[in-house]
């Protein structure tokens, strides 16, 4: 699985990815993942042009390896929804799964699935940028990210 960061992501997180600071363990992939989650949730695909051209990581980092099945499941769910595949249409669902699943990949995803993941991250990052300024600290980001998800239920100030 070749992960591509959305354009502008690095600049956005430069204050919260501090390599020398041991306590702050926000890595590039975290940024990708946060974007991905938002994009998948919105069922919105971004475009290739909004992604960096060079792969920044191959395969899930240690902290995410246990989530491979879940993320794959979320992708399938998103695609079924995005393409309005009927929940009762067994054959279509099966076809979709065949398209997206590659059992031998560590990410469980086929190349098609791989590409889709990157595109969801692209759109997700744009949505993140719309909702907050580049965070000055990790704690600031966590709060803002939470608020992005829980807009409807505002965190008590």
């Amino acid at each position: 699985m070749s992960f591509l960061l959305p354009q502008g992501c690095r600049a956005f997180i430069k204050n919260i990815v501090a390599p020398n600071d041991g306590a702050k363990k926000f890595i590039l992939f975290d940024a990708f993942y946060c974007s991905l989650m938002v994009g998948i949730d919105a069922r919105k695909l971004g475009i290739k042009e909004d992604l960096e051209s060079e792969v920044f990581l191959n395969g899930y980092p240690e902290d995410y390896k246990g989530q491979a099945d879940i993320i794959a499941g979320l992708l399938i769910d998103a695609e079924l929804d995005r393409k309005a595949i009927e929940p009762e249409n067994k054959a279509s669902i099966e076809r979709e799964m065949t398209r997206l699943v590659n059992p031998t990949a560590t990410t469980r995803l086929s190349d098609t699935g791989n590409d889709l993941l990157n595109l969801y991250a692209a759109s997700g990052f744009k949505l993140i940028q719309d909702s907050m300024m580049a965070p000055a600290s990790l704690e600031e980001f966590l709060v803002a990210y939470y608020q992005l998800w829980h807009r409807d239920s505002a965190v008590a100030e």
Binding site: M37, G73, L74, P87, E94, P103, E140
Partner: protein, 645 residues
């Protein structure tokens, strides 16, 4: 390498050579004298020898001219040779009807000596078996004049070929080709194909190194500055604190705030850790995600997906003679089954999806965890802000109470913080390896260390390529120089050697005449005492010179060739005949001489005393027939008149 003629034969060749074979025998005699009256095909034979040695391209007219009579359609000339004692058979096949011809070779190595089309003689011989060169050893009387013709390169050319100096030219050509290949390869990597390239890349490389030094200095400076700023920051903080604690009550407040701040910082770190861990669990980010995951899992189970029947099932079924329903599995049925198999998930895909279902079903979560942490974090941040504000407040109060020093310190602290920010930005621009970041900050090899290092590496590579190319080119030129010099020097020596040897022989052949070779440039240039170069040379003298030269040339050559000559003595006067007869034969390992009866006296008779001589007499008995006799007696006594015309 040694080439010997073992024999030859004719089929349907004019001049009575309908079906004649001459066999020089296995233990080939060193000298063979073939007595053939005029008109019996001596000239034809010589031409055939030359053609067959060199694979010469003959015109249709030439081919037809060899025709024995109108009835015959095809003709043949075959030579049997021994090359380093290995037998070869070479044929020239003539088609008189259309005037075409082909060459064929039988080599002892190939398939029980079968004939293959084409002339396949050893590679080493090929430069010597050209139409031009064969005239040297299948001696063409005309050549005698030609080798003295200035403007032609016959003499020197012969030396070069025979002594293989032409191979050294080939070597230099090979060197040239290698240089060109190298340059092309280098051109693909960089455009440095000349010395200019070296200078250019060396300059770029030096410049890049200098820049690295400068950037490293800048890095040191920034770090130093940062240290200073940090130190100053700490200093200022203590100074500020010091001023504050001068006031007892303010100190108390300040201390309390400090304690609180430390506790808050700790709490924040703790909450960050918790938050990150939650963040990385999708199900915990929002209840929605969990719901979706569960729904998908449920859906799959409900739809009985993945089917317990997997693609493998179908594939195996297709191989069975009978279907599960009992029907036979014909080719048609098999195809249909296999097509369906593709729709169903493969076994390992099923496995994955089952795992996924399990994970989905088991995703527990309490999405409220994230809310708790986020709320707490938000609260802590707010508290920190408050704390910070309160601390500022204390400082403010102090300033307002007249502590100008404190105000000054605070201002300096702000400036210091600003400087730290600037330093941070500059440091990032100088040191970041992140390509995207580099692009954003417009960092390049002039202001960024990693970029500069990459540039150094690039220049080094180009420089190495450039110098390699230049070096290789110069090395190659040097080698060419040595080879050319060697070749030229060798040619000089060989020319001199051959000249001296030629003159030695001339001294023997024509002692009374001042017939000597002055120089072998392209041609054989004769001297004549003190007067200008002798041009008026008699035929006899011309021949003598030619023999002297050729024997000198061929005698010591790396390849031993037979010397085949037609009427060697006819144009020589008696005295020279004798000398030629005495001198020349000893110089060759094999000689074949076609003589006429009048050459017996004074020339052929010189051989009668020798051993290892074969005598063959061939004469025409009719329009199309010939007879052949071996042996000295017959040779001696043969008289053309006796033969039936």
């Amino acid at each position: 390498m040694e080439l010997r003629v073992l024999g030859w034969r004719y089929e349907n060749i004019r001049g009575g050579l309908r079906n004649v074979e001459i066999d020089l025998g296995a233990g080939t005699s060193r000298w063979t004298l073939v007595q053939m009256p005029n008109g019996t095909g001596k000239t034809t034979t010589m031409s055939l020898f030359r053609a067959t040695f060199s694979g010469e391209n003959l015109s249709a007219q030439t081919v037809r001219d060899l025709r024995a009579s109108d009835e015959v359609k095809q003709g043949l000339f075959e030579m049997r040779l021994a090359i380093d004692a290995r037998p070869y058979r070479v044929q020239l096949r003539l088609n008189f009807e259309d005037g075409s011809h082909t060459y064929w070779t039988a080599r002892s190595e190939t398939r029980a000596g079968g004939l293959e089309e084409g002339l396949s003689l050893p590679t080493e011989l090929r430069p010597l078996l050209t139409p031009d060169f064969t005239r040297l050893f299948v001696f063409d009387g005309e050549l005698a004049k030609e080798i003295r013709a200035v403007g032609k390169d016959r003499a020197a050319g012969a030396i070069r070929t025979l002594y293989r100096l032409d191979r050294l030219d080939d070597l230099n050509r090979q060197v040239r080709r290698l240089v060109e290949a190298q340059q092309q390869k280098a051109a693909a990597i960089s455009s440095a194909t000349e010395k200019k390239g070296v200078t250019r890349w060396k300059r770029a490389y030096d410049a890049a190194l200098d820049r690295k030094v400068a950037l490293t200095q800048e890095q040191r400076r920034l770090l130093q500055e940062r240290k200073g700023l940090d130190a100053r920051s700490e200093e200022l903080t203590s100074l500020i604190n010091a001023r504050i604690v001068q006031d007892g009550s303010l100190k108390t407040r300040k201390d309390a705030l400090e304690v609180e701040r430390e506790a808050l910082d700790k709490r924040v770190l703790n909450l960050i850790a918790q938050g990150m861990s939650l963040l990385r669990t999708p199900a915990k980010i929002h209840p929605r995600l969990l719901e979706r995951l569960r729904a998908l899992g449920g859906k799959l189970t409900e739809l009985k997906l993945p089917k317990t029947i997997s693609a493998e099932f179908f594939r195996e079924l297709a191989e069975q003679p009978e279907c599960v329903c009992g029907r036979p599995v014909t080719e048609h049925v098999k195809e249909a089954i296999l097509n369906r198999a593709n729709i169903y998930l493969a076994e390992d895909q099923v496995l994955v999806i089952n795992k996924m279902k399990l994970a989905l079903r088991e995703s527990s979560a309490d999405a409220t965890e994230f809310t708790t942490v986020a709320t707490a974090l938000n609260g802590a941040l707010r508290d920190l802000r408050t704390n910070r504000h309160a601390q500022d407040q204390i400082e403010q109060e102090r300033i307002e109470s007249g502590d100008i020093e404190l105000e000054r310190l605070r201002k300096e602290k702000t400036t210091n913080e600003r400087s730290l920010e600037i330093n941070d930005d500059a440091f990032e621009k100088l040191t970041t390896r992140d390509h995207a970041r580099q692009a954003e900050l417009r960092a390049d090899e002039s202001n960024n260390l990693p970029c500069c290092e990459a540039e150094i590496k690039r220049c080094k590579q180009r420089l190495e390529t450039a110098t390699d190319t230049v070096r290789f080119g110069q090395q190659a030129s040097y080698v060419q120089k040595i080879v050319s010099e060697t070749s030229a020097l060798a040619l000089e020596r060989l020319r001199e050697r051959v000249r001296l040897a030629t003159n030695e022989k001339l001294a023997q052949l024509v002692p009374s005449e001042a017939l000597r070779v002055a120089r072998i440039s392209g041609a054989l240039e004769l001297e004549s005492g003190r007067t200008a170069t002798k041009t008026g040379v008699s035929e006899g003298q011309s021949l003598a010179v030619a023999y002297a030269f050729l024997t000198s040339l061929l005698a010591e050559a790396p390849t031993k060739l037979p010397f085949i000559v037609d009427s060697p003595a006819v144009s020589l006067d008696v005295q020279v005949r004798r000398e030629v007869g005495d001198l020349i034969p000893g110089l060759f390992d094999q000689m074949i001489m076609f003589v006429i009866s009048s050459e017996r006296e004074g020339f052929a008779d010189a051989f009668y005393e020798r051993e290892n001589v074969k005598y063959v007499t061939l004469w025409r008995t009719g329009e199309e027939t010939s007879e052949i006799h071996e042996g000295l007696d017959y040779f001696k006594t043969f008289h053309q008149v006796d033969a039936v015309a």
